[in-house]
Symmetry: D2
Subunit: 434 residues, 4 copies
Amino acid sequence: MDFDISPKQRVFLDRVTAFMDEHVYPAIPAYEAEMNVLGAERWKVVQVLEELKKKAKAEGLWNFFMPPHSGQTHVDDTFQFEGEQLTNLEYSLIAEHMGKVGFASEVFNCSAPDTGNMEVLMRYGTLAQKERWLRPLMNGEIRSAFLMTEPAVASSDATNIETRIERDGDDYVINGRKWWSSGVGDPRCKVAIVMGKTDPTASPHSQQSQVLVPLDAPGIEIVRMLPVFGYDDAPHGHAEVILKDVRVPVEEGLLLGEGRGFEIAQGRLGPGRIHHCMRTIGAAEVALEKMIKRLMTRKAFGKYLSDHSVWEQRIAEARIDIEMCRLLCLKAADMMDKAGNKSARLEIAMIKVAAPRIALKVIDDAIQAHGGAGVTTDFGLAKLYAGIRTLRLADGPDEVHCRTIARMEMSKYGDLAYKQKAERDAALHVPGIR
Amino acid sequence: MDFDISPKQRVFLDRVTAFMDEHVYPAIPAYEAEMNVLGAERWKVVQVLEELKKKAKAEGLWNFFMPPHSGQTHVDDTFQFEGEQLTNLEYSLIAEHMGKVGFASEVFNCSAPDTGNMEVLMRYGTLAQKERWLRPLMNGEIRSAFLMTEPAVASSDATNIETRIERDGDDYVINGRKWWSSGVGDPRCKVAIVMGKTDPTASPHSQQSQVLVPLDAPGIEIVRMLPVFGYDDAPHGHAEVILKDVRVPVEEGLLLGEGRGFEIAQGRLGPGRIHHCMRTIGAAEVALEKMIKRLMTRKAFGKYLSDHSVWEQRIAEARIDIEMCRLLCLKAADMMDKAGNKSARLEIAMIKVAAPRIALKVIDDAIQAHGGAGVTTDFGLAKLYAGIRTLRLADGPDEVHCRTIARMEMSKYGDLAYKQKAERDAALHVPGIR
Amino acid sequence: MDFDISPKQRVFLDRVTAFMDEHVYPAIPAYEAEMNVLGAERWKVVQVLEELKKKAKAEGLWNFFMPPHSGQTHVDDTFQFEGEQLTNLEYSLIAEHMGKVGFASEVFNCSAPDTGNMEVLMRYGTLAQKERWLRPLMNGEIRSAFLMTEPAVASSDATNIETRIERDGDDYVINGRKWWSSGVGDPRCKVAIVMGKTDPTASPHSQQSQVLVPLDAPGIEIVRMLPVFGYDDAPHGHAEVILKDVRVPVEEGLLLGEGRGFEIAQGRLGPGRIHHCMRTIGAAEVALEKMIKRLMTRKAFGKYLSDHSVWEQRIAEARIDIEMCRLLCLKAADMMDKAGNKSARLEIAMIKVAAPRIALKVIDDAIQAHGGAGVTTDFGLAKLYAGIRTLRLADGPDEVHCRTIARMEMSKYGDLAYKQKAERDAALHVPGIR
Amino acid sequence: MDFDISPKQRVFLDRVTAFMDEHVYPAIPAYEAEMNVLGAERWKVVQVLEELKKKAKAEGLWNFFMPPHSGQTHVDDTFQFEGEQLTNLEYSLIAEHMGKVGFASEVFNCSAPDTGNMEVLMRYGTLAQKERWLRPLMNGEIRSAFLMTEPAVASSDATNIETRIERDGDDYVINGRKWWSSGVGDPRCKVAIVMGKTDPTASPHSQQSQVLVPLDAPGIEIVRMLPVFGYDDAPHGHAEVILKDVRVPVEEGLLLGEGRGFEIAQGRLGPGRIHHCMRTIGAAEVALEKMIKRLMTRKAFGKYLSDHSVWEQRIAEARIDIEMCRLLCLKAADMMDKAGNKSARLEIAMIKVAAPRIALKVIDDAIQAHGGAGVTTDFGLAKLYAGIRTLRLADGPDEVHCRTIARMEMSKYGDLAYKQKAERDAALHVPGIR
């Protein structure tokens, strides 16, 4: 065990934070100016961002998210790409810093949902699929979406999903209604991975498949963009999408194999979740910093707010919670690197629950510290709250992850046989000091 | 003591809820259609609302908020107005129901900040001021604003306020920057009550005065409308306002007397705060109802969400908290009626802290129950959350009210002499079972 | 609705608090001196208490707990007793004050579990049963126990209970193991009401009966007294009891009728629960008072602890929570008086959950305010915490009451038919601002 | 960074847990039998424990707590002792396991307050002091106490301490009243380190000195043993002690130097605190295990309690919280090893606050899961709760540690100059998305 930052972590952390200080933070006003438009104009390519991407790529600060040797089953040695492959652990602290500015992840080509889609393509895509979609994604030329959640059912239970992917000759024909299809608002978004049932009669976890669908395919209709607490999250956005008789050739579309959609989802969701958690910790740090600065510069009842002890307690609790949360996130990342995403699923579930819970508390306190300025635009705190609040639902609500954690915990204590034995023991009422 | 609803409460409660069922709820789609516009068009008179107001007024469901015999010092017997004057207690349950629909209070001419302004005008206005401003307000013809909070200082400590109201001949000349000036976005908003310092050298609570200012006076600039989370709260809205050399004749403008602004504020804020609390309880009821309906109609892991016991606990906690909160609100209203707003200030402070705290918990659980639908527009829950979140700050942050409550509590135990005696007692370490 | 204390409430509240100030508080040191003994000697009649009882009875401050006209089905007009019958509402504030001193309820013959047993005997007892047991109980000459909970099963689900009451000729033969049989440690405890199954084959709620059992009956063995945290709660105490072939004549023992034990339990538990809640509020008040006094008399870092704002927040939250809780308790009492115990079961369940939850928070804060003195004997706070902590379990754990509350709440929204309709509505995604 | 258990950690962890499985757990009934006595007999040497100590020492499982190279300033190379010196990080997981059984730490000669005293003697003691006191302590032949806290003042602010250590010729004469002097009840307890003021006129942090005092010195009176929530914690116990004209020769008594008591305290408290935290995590694990086993073996309403989802949530939250807490504890230990106790004081303060907070939540849930069995003796949970509750006060209350954390956090943002600059920035209302 060792809690020190490794030399490699340090090098990339320093390079990324230096790049952010030099290029990203100073670009915020220009980014906001470009986005200071209304209505349909908001769904556009932001030039400031494209320029930042070029710079980051030129410096080799690119594609950090793709871990080496992460158990790919379909990697083709001929598929090479630009950028620096870091382990999940090495990537963690960097991603945390990216989480401090809303658009920073994209600067380094590390933004959701592309990262998850790219990892899926890397692991399960054919060479043709890779060249067509993964190549431009890794180059930052296009963006992508992941269409899983549906408005009509509790999608936290993936067996509920109703979208149909039916075979018709050499094509799949897709029908369904999806929502929270993030990134669809972006004009660069060219492809979606769609999850649906190819065989509703199969066993529950073999009914689903995942299929690549070009977003310009006939039959795809964007019904509306979904606001989050009043924010449109443009130019990225979250869409409600209808797929009506959408056709894709099986060979071009199918990932991994029919009935293996659930299996892909399980591998995909781990990294996606932990990346969100890393960034969430960065968001919490931002909120804490803003909170303290505000408290140190406002006076009430004759002294700085920071000198009122109620705020000492809140600052301390925030620092404790953030610190614990970061460690859990790092440990989960380390387990993913060493034991694989599947073995780390307890740790991933834990950090998935912990990170937004903790960050929301910090942000809410920061809002309170800012008074009216906290709930409006000026310090970005209300928007931060809204964004993080969705993470208690995205990729599965807390309750489902807690269920997973509890079941793994209970499994330590075995089966009914154990229960019956324990029942007898308990009946004896053996007192104990342990 | 009697916890039954009185016959008079019952009559008006029934009439108001019947009116809401018959007219208000069915008008929601039309209201939303009218507001389904972008940008500057959103700051307008909503026709649906005007029609509802006419109907309510015709049925005598109007101006309920103005309690009879509430200690007015300047009431002129010649000032008569339409509507039914209810006690605070009688008004409470009605206001709760109004809180269930965002625009319902205005239908009955009971919406903030007009109610507070009307009560101030009734108590402290001259007959001329009443005829000019109170008359059209009571008729629902115009709206009004209250300009107190300032962006540059912690306004929770009212002595911090920096706006200057300087005498120049028979005029006041006003300079300052205000924000969270609610209602200014509405084209019908014609007058503001402005709080500022007429004598910064006086003792802390005699420096301030309140002055009526027509909103078309030269020198008033609306800098921007402040979003709440991502919502603009149109057509009402919250403005940041600059007052630059704004002139009003002293006789037309001054309320009650120079240096008495703090005194007015104290009387004004009580009813305003409790009205918000009443409506907040209604909002919590709405959230609980939506939560339960959702849970009863969605399945995961083989059963309705409502059959998962974690939700039983949350529903029960919501019901308990709402019930306790309502009772505290009713008791505070009863005290205001019987002992006056000032004597009820402990109870008002308590409900001011309790109501948003409790409602936010319920709404947040409701959001969680709705999954992705909770954080977007479809069920109105995210907007409800945003609106109620501001109430932990508006009219003073929780911390300031808790300070008030704690100080009143501590005052029961006397002064330093007590402290010293108690210190001696404590030194004896008398054990006790009480 | 009226939140004022009624004249009758005021009279008895004043008389009881005066009696407590004059007689009860001053007797605490003598009580403690008498109890300052070890081991078996602690299970005794405390003389100080007997003298206080005489005084209270002489002043007519006696048997307040027995509400008039409370729906007795077996009351015999010939059964008269001493004391003042108050409604539940009138009794509430008095009971709160009794809750401030551990032994005060008994001074006024209002202590658990006797009150519940007396009410059961009054309602369901035969005249002979009343003369034998109710008479001396109402006179404060003997005490009684209620044997329901069992160590071997989750007794929160009463259908789990395993004790058998089998008919053998004119006798019942009882076999079982009970625990948390409160009051059994007291030498004056002469009779128990025992709940058990007379017919395990009947429908779940008709299997149980309640039977009066003299505590000197052969076959009753007190296995041990159960500590609560580290307190023995002498001289009252909580026992684990084995009943082995205990015989009682059916006519002497049976209450109400065979198979009606569940029905009795439901009627019994309401008053018992709310009495505990009333006293719990008193306990919270005691803790808050001690907390404030401590904070006002200790200094750290240059000022009184009460001047550190973190304590302002805690004091305020305590006051808010206590106030809300008291109101809910009073409302529940009022409903019991007006609509009967059964109709008030939602309110009773709510206060049963709320009161200990709130009191434990206040007591825990008070402990924290006292430093090391909080966790030891000197201020009685640790003992108070331990006692109240049991109330989250006694008479049913929180979770079971929350389940009840949630189910009543859900029942407002009807059956599956509703669900299906709502499902269709939800499918339409009608956005709404309410 | 590396979250894997190192080979050395693994070896000792395996050896200690094997020893505990083989010897410690099986000895619990004998230990309890020996302690099943009343009154004065409880303050004795427990034979079971002495035998376990011999075994552990023979296996080299001894004195783990004393880290190598921990910055001793007075270490004499000639002072050798038995046992295995582990780093704080290596010791952490072992100490956690010791925390699972109340008396286990002592088995390995790693129990408080001896460990802290031994570390102080090792660092600051003269060779004579070491031979007289440290030698038998390291051998497990005697025990020791630390007399710091006082009943008459808020000892969380160490400048409040009133005990006087006055020079009289070659002696110190000590007068004062101490409490929470842990371990004084043990007949083997032979020496105390006493903190008091040698020069009340010096600067606040130079007034205090620490002095070794044999417990059989004339003038030492044990006033009483302090119960914790009703538990006497025999045979160890916590005493209130009066020192009246207690004399010790300066040369024998003084540690490090006059006026350096505060400095010693700061170095001492770090390890003491983190050891408690390590054990607290073990206690939380015990509670979680008991909770799950209970839930898996009790049925209510037709299914195991573990199948009610409310318990899934609580189990998951417990697992998350424990995991985060353990990581923070390990990180703090690692920092102490690498950067010294003083540099790790932020991390130590954080874990000091976090560990009891988290453990109390888990234990309280475990109590709730056990029903009535939770609050009594049978599963040891109530006693566990009581013991851990004291840790929110011992070695400084949460509030003081939070104050420290907050101040270190605020110090990142500089001095008043910063404040003023920030004030100007804030005045500009620069909106930002970060």
